[in-house]
Amino acid sequence: MTGGAPGGRATSAPLMGRDAEPTLFELSSPGRVAANFRATGLPEWTAEDLVPAAHLRNEPTPVAEVSERDLVAHMTRLSHRQFSVDLGAYPLGSCTMKYNPKLCDDAVARAGLADVHPAAPPRLTQGWMALFADLEEALCRITGMAAATLQPPAGAAGELTGLLLMRAFHGAAGEDGRRRRVLIPDSAHGTNPASVTLGGYAVTQVPSDDRGCVDLDALVARLDDDVAGIMLTNPNTLGLFEEDIVAIAGAVHEVGGLLYYDGANLNAILGVTRPGDMGFDIVHMNLHKTFAVPHGGGGPGAGPVAVTERLSPFLPGPRPVRTDRGPSGPSSGLQGAYEWVEPERSIGRIHSWHGNALALARAWSYILANGGDGLRKVSDAAVLNANWLRHRLRGAYDIPFDRPCMHEFVASATNLKRDRGVRALDVAKRLLEEGFHAPTTYFPLVVEEALMIEPTETESPQTLAAMADALLRIAGDTAEDARNAPRTSPVGRVDEARAARQLIPTWDARPAEGGSPPIGPQGLSEQRF
């Protein structure tokens, strides 16, 4: 039969075989259609009637031509080629891949939330505005801050928002011209320096001391009145609590700088301590880490920014604010009416609308379900799990800063590399075979062959024990063993160099002759094990 690939053949589903999955474009057959449209009764004007010739394309835009059945099979098979939290443990350091409760999926699956137009007048969106106000209040209580913006759609966006808040603050003090530098520890996440640049500041790196924390003397030596502020995460990316944080805050405030808290590691300290108490002025949170918004394969997330009283006039707008007027619109038990307010010295808008609203709502459902008591339990278990696993790996792996950690810790494969040429990368690939996702590797940069492990609180002790056993087994591997991993996944190690060398960014960019590599050996040739 001429035309496309067989949409009903399942050899790409790991259950059935180890072929690759054809692309939508290979599954296409000219003239095949899934789409259909409701009856409207409107006049059937043609494209020529409706579009000036100068603008009208003469060829239809090529998309794909697949049946609904093949589209469903294609996406379902792709989903079987994808690891996820719902399949198993995902100890990616710094990413907080905890279980995302299903109740949050259902909480936001309401027409009353999903079908609300962002430009509708406030009278029609009171429920959303109340939800935002309630979430903002909770985030402030958790971080010890005075006010927050929910607009930033991710952590990096929150960082940039925070840096622009710094600028606005210093600008208001007539100091914007003078303050040009932002301090960042060498263990910081890449988004921090990148955001500093976009904020129009210069990065000054601060070294870590031999305990893995900010080197206080080095910090002080870099402080001057041209410093706009410092970005820290605490616990830091090594999973260690910055014990000098109060001194650091004092020193930075001393020279008129502000402290920015990167909230990616907030999962460690919920109900234990608050950035506000540590002296931070600006805090971003990754709701897609700490508050169980699922990562969606890379997003969407939400990165609200909370600030102290003195910074609140600069927050982005519009912000939903409760007025003392009675409820308006279809209220149903809301207290008071809400309206959109522009902070008087706002840095302006930073999202097309009001941020990733449904992600924010998910996080709020998670916070409501846990409550103050549950959030503290989260951090207790997250920190307990990390320390227990660190303890189990001692001896088998180098642990550069081997002391009580918070929610995560960084091990290193330097010993394995030295003794038998097994690298962090190999350990990662071997762990996949053992049924666990790999930890974050080669980050933070201050640790060689870094294996950054964050078990999260939702993994059971039994899962931790199995993960520890697997890692100990791997520590005994020969380079040979390790190099061949992973052998259980639908594809083996992927040639990243080739991808960059001969870039194929779309199906249409395939080299004319040869085209793409084959979907895979027909049937079984590769599958006789």
């Binding site: 409701r38 999903a114 622009l164 990148a194 976009l198 302006g348 303890h391 594809v491």
Partner: protein, 440 residues
Amino acid sequence: MHFVPHTEAEVAEMLAALGLASVEQLFDVVPAALRLAGGLDMADGLAEADVAGRFDAYAAANRPVGADLVCFAGAGAYDHDMPSVVNRLAYRSEFVTAYTPYQPEVAQGVLQALFEYQTLVCRLFGTDVANASLYDGASACVEAVNLAVAATGRPEVWISRGVHPHWRQVMTTMAVGTGHHLTDIALDDGLTSWPESGLPGAILVQSPNYLGCLEDVGAAGELARRLGALLIVAADPVSAGLLISPGSLGADVVVGEGQPFGAPLSLGGPYLGLFACRREHVRRLPGRLVGETVDTGGRRAYVTTLRTREQDIRREKASSNVCTNQTLMAVAFLVHLAWLGTSGLRELALRCARGTRYTREALLVIDGVEPLAGAPTLREFAVRTPLAADILVDRMADEGFLAGVALGEEYGGGLLVAVTEKRTKAEIDAYVVAFEKVVR
């Protein structure tokens, strides 16, 4: 309700292994002065059923669009039909609960979906490369300007006033950090009237623009080439079914709001920013890019590539600070657009255009209702109304319609009306009747 699996016995066993007497001791590293006495000042956790109850209340306090509030509002957020396959496929938990595909061997699902998404975005816009999504239309504009300024070394940027006002506001916010000089270019009868000369690094035009008018993208392209600027076009993926692609009209970078495919209105997020450009700019591309390659067995495979552009490697020299993006929305976009297919996309655009024409003609019959601009429109249009637009929208809500979006001062007021394939003749006729009643 709590999600920590540990039993008390297990906690005790683990603490014992660590030689600790209490969970509290885990936090000894936290200076006593910083400890939160008495814990968080928040209510205790709720049962699942009670959380649902709270959310019922929030939902009940909104008025969603639907039979009781028929939607004629657009302005960058459109009320399209979404086929069942979108949620049934894109929201499978493997896609929902995966992280960024750092381990390609067990992430081919997301990677291949993104590769197919990138292909579709390029086909819509006539470009060579597209990234794996940005936050929204506004952030895509910001990144495009950053790319263009870096590529040309010119900080001057001309931005048509036909670009969505919120997107322009976000660019303005961000320009404080980047130091770019943004100049608003006014509209004349609905279309941008560009200056003859100057030294812009980028020219940004939206078509169909905020008022729904079709801009002369080709002319903007020639101007850009003549002045040595890059042309950035903000385009609509639905209109792409009928319009000549920006890429073929000389656009260097094409951006857009992906919401019409796969994203519910949801008060404005999560949506997704579409970002595509010519191949020559690929090393300045912001965010993630998926490429095709092979595995050790020669089997076709996909992986994120050209990662040296990204923040985790380039740090302060990165092309952008974006890390988490809107991948899941890109997967939903893929499913929705693939379901429409080649003929369905064209049909969709055609149906939006039909409803728009029909509604516009019917409204203009009402006296006092005048076109705000004479330029041709496609899926959205603006009118001046005898009654102030915001009051009109308010009154129309009582009639069961979200009448449109009130235009701001910079457009001299007026009402922006969008009509999608969802609107039937009966609904439109009822809308016009209510409209007439309200303005009278």
